[in-house]
């Protein structure tokens, strides 16, 4: 994806720049969250904003997730465009009443007389023992609710463009970032731009198997696709980007070509958005399918803390590659499998994104 000569930013820097440009453009954009102006600045994604826009637009917040969500909804109904931040998506569960009963419903139940232009950034944690309550990936819970939009950009380019689009959208948008994407770089234009909140994007072309991936799993799928591609297994990787609405059309088009679908999700498997995507493809494209679709997702038990238990918890690029081979009916002895393993299996420790990463998590 990198194009030498063009400017690259990390995902975290891209989020920060999108936030900055949205605030510069519209004085009604405010940001609030636990730690927004603190020394760690939400993994540097809010760095410099208070210095630039002042304490009347950049707020820390009381530990009151539900109350402050409602307060942001009230402000949004009164002409503001608040951006709320949760350092962990798990904290947002405290705010489900306001999100589901008020934010999602307000426009509908009051017959379009008012709307709630609110963005809530939620960060999915992983690694270094984040454990049961700091590493859930809860997109399907939010995506079940009509009235909410839910997006999970995987690239720095999309992170900036989708954040700007989300802030300008007149609806509540749940903007989910994966902590392990924050350091991933991409070409990010300096000027303002928007990326639609309802379109998946094909990131890698291939004719044998479609892999529809969400958030961080997109990066894992791309690695698998490149490694398999060098051994003549064609993997089409679709970065889903949006969870609600779900761009089933882009996946259907790919499945009509490949006949095989793997969905790679960051969430628990049961009741996941991966399950929803497979349901919809089965309903729409059953005749195109050459084999039963598969899911790669997190197992149906809470995330353990000890790395001895957690090491095999997360699907890795090799997990995706194995699933692709199974779907395509290719035996391990039909390709250079040891080479695939060399290319895709990470060295321990597995609870950090790479050896250079030293936190914070």
């Amino acid at each position: 994806m990198l194009d030498s000569g063009k400017r690259t930013l990390s995902y975290a820097q891209a989020v920060r720049e999108g936030m900055d440009q949205a605030m510069e453009r519209d004085p009604n954009v405010i940001v609030i969250g636990e730690g927004v102006p603190d020394p760690k600045m939400i993994f540097n994604t809010t760095a410099g904003l208070r210095e630039k826009y002042g304490a009347k637009r950049v707020f820390d917040m009381p530990l009151a997730e539900n109350g402050v969500t409602g307060i942001c909804i009230g402000a949004a109904l009164s002409g503001m465009r608040p951006v709320m931040v949760h350092q962990r998506i798990d904290f947002a569960l405290l705010a489900m009443d306001q999100l589901v009963n008020n934010a999602a419903k307000w426009h509908y139940m009051f017959d379009g007389k008012a709307s709630v232009p609110l963005v809530i950034r939620m960060i999915v944690g992983r690694g270094w023992g984040q454990g049961p309550q700091h590493s859930q990936s809860l997109q399907s819970i939010f995506a079940q609710v009509p009235g909410l939009k839910v997006v999970m950009p995987a690239t720095a380019y999309d992170a900036k463009g989708m954040l700007m689009a989300a802030i300008e959208d007149d609806n509540p948008v749940i903007f989910i970032e994966h902590r392990w994407l924050h350091h991933v770089t991409d070409v990010v234009p300096e000027e303002e731009y928007r990326v639609p909140l309802d379109r998946a994007k094909v990131l890698h072309r291939g004719n044998d198997v479609t892999v529809a991936a969400f958030s961080h799993m997109t990066m894992e799928a791309l690695q698998a696709a490149r490694a398999l591609g060098s051994q003549s297994v064609g993997v089409e990787v679709i970065d889903m980007r949006s969870v609600r609405p779900l761009d089933v059309g882009t996946v259907a088009e790919s499945v009509r070509k490949t006949g095989r679908l793997l969905v790679a999700d960051t969430a628990f498997k049961t009741g996941s958005i991966a399950a929803e995507l497979i349901s919809q493809i089965a309903e729409r494209e059953f005749a195109s399918l050459k084999s039963a679709p598969k899911r790669v997702a997190s197992p149906d038990h809470p995330t353990p803390t000890s790395h001895f238990m957690a090491d095999e918890y997360y699907p890795e690029p090799i997990t995706i590659a194995d699933a692709v081979l199974e779907l395509a009916g290719i035996e391990q002895n039909g390709i250079d499998y040891p080479r695939l393993q060399r290319e895709l299996c990470r060295d321990r420790p597995l609870d950090i994104p790479n050896r250079n990463f030293s936190g914070p998590f």
Partner: protein
């Protein structure tokens, strides 16, 4: 208070009372097919508080919000049409009795999740400060709200940012059929608000003049930048929690208590008081009654002749 103002208060309370009584009568026809929580007996609070507000001040209500909506100037036609599920209802039939809105009147919305609109009113007050707009925000809620975390989260934030909001606690001592003593320890609700760091008041919610006097003072202080104000007002719910009837047969409150509650009627009390200085009050009341009867008849005609939404309509407007 001038006689004109006093009569306006009386008329406003009487109007809400008669409207709700008319709704209660026709509810039995089963054409208003939504839950309905009547505020009969509690009218003085909505009327007294809203009398001191301007149109640009904003109000949020709860599940028992007909009085809040009407006192702030919400359209009667749109209310009745909403109860009948018509396209001309204030929510186009999507809300019913528990979801009322009239933006032109400054009534920003009512919802039935206990405590649900409290933070929204705080957010509206916050926006007024951030946008440098001179208006106050008011929210009505019941005593049960004090058992909800969001209430305390909202008070904390309002006090922290010294927001121009007036919290109105309508303490009728009942959450559905459960008495306050089974839900909260013996303590004064308004003192809890005071402990959150705001000026707090308590008063007789069935004395419309007292309500107005306290609210006027609180609204004035909030408007002048003195931060949030909290008012606890004691009142009594005459009818069942949800529905048009009296429910004394359920025996969840004593006959003596009910008798005392009904005797404490804010309209009877205020009429008797006015009569001392206005011997002709009876004629005034008769005139009000006639006007209100006509207004109610017009509103029912409007609702019953209004277009009805379709299933097709229900599938639209999910997103702005």
């Amino acid at each position: 208070m001038t006689p004109t103002n006093s009569l306006a208060l009386l008329q406003a309370m009487l109007r809400i009372r008669r409207i709700e009584e008319a709704l209660a009568v026709r509810y039995a026809e089963q054409e208003m097919r939504c839950p309905m929580h009547l505020c009969i007996g509690q009218e003085a609070i909505a009327v007294g508080v809203c009398a001191g507000l301007s149109v640009k001040d904003v109000v949020f209500g709860n599940h028992r919000a007909h009085g809040h909506y009407l006192a702030k100037g919400g359209s009667l036609n749109a209310l009745v049409a909403e109860l009948y599920g018509c396209s001309t209802g204030c929510c186009g039939g999507r809300g019913g009795s528990m979801h009322l809105i009239d933006l032109e009147a400054g009534f920003l919305g009512s919802t039935p999740i206990v405590g649900g609109t409290v933070p929204l009113a705080v957010g509206a007050a916050w926006a007024a400060v951030l946008k440098n707009e001179n208006r106050v925000s008011v929210v009505f809620f019941g005593d049960g709200c004090f058992e909800e975390g969001v209430m305390h989260e909202s008070l904390n934030f309002a006090a922290l940012h010294r927001l121009p909001i007036i919290f109105i606690c309508e303490n009728n001592e009942f959450s559905v059929y459960t008495h306050l003593s089974e839900r909260q320890p013996q303590r004064l609700i308004y003192r809890l608000a005071e402990a959150h760091g705001m000026t707090s008041y308590t008063g007789d919610g069935n004395d419309v003049e007292e309500v107005l006097a306290i609210a006027d003072r609180a609204v004035g202080l909030a408007r002048q930048g003195n931060g949030p104000q909290f008012i606890e007002l004691h009142t009594y719910r005459w009818r069942e929690h949800c529905g048009p009837n009296f429910d004394d047969d359920l025996n969840y409150r004593s006959e003596a208590e009910i008798e005392n509650g009904l005797k404490d009627c804010p309209i009877v009390r205020f009429t008797a008081k006015l009569k001392q200085s206005m011997p002709t009050i009876g004629a005034e009341v008769e005139r009000f009654e006639a006007e209100i009867r006509e207004e109610i008849a017009t509103a029912f005609d409007f609702a019953l002749s209004s277009p009805k939404p379709s299933s097709e309509d229900a599938r639209t407007g999910i997103y702005a």
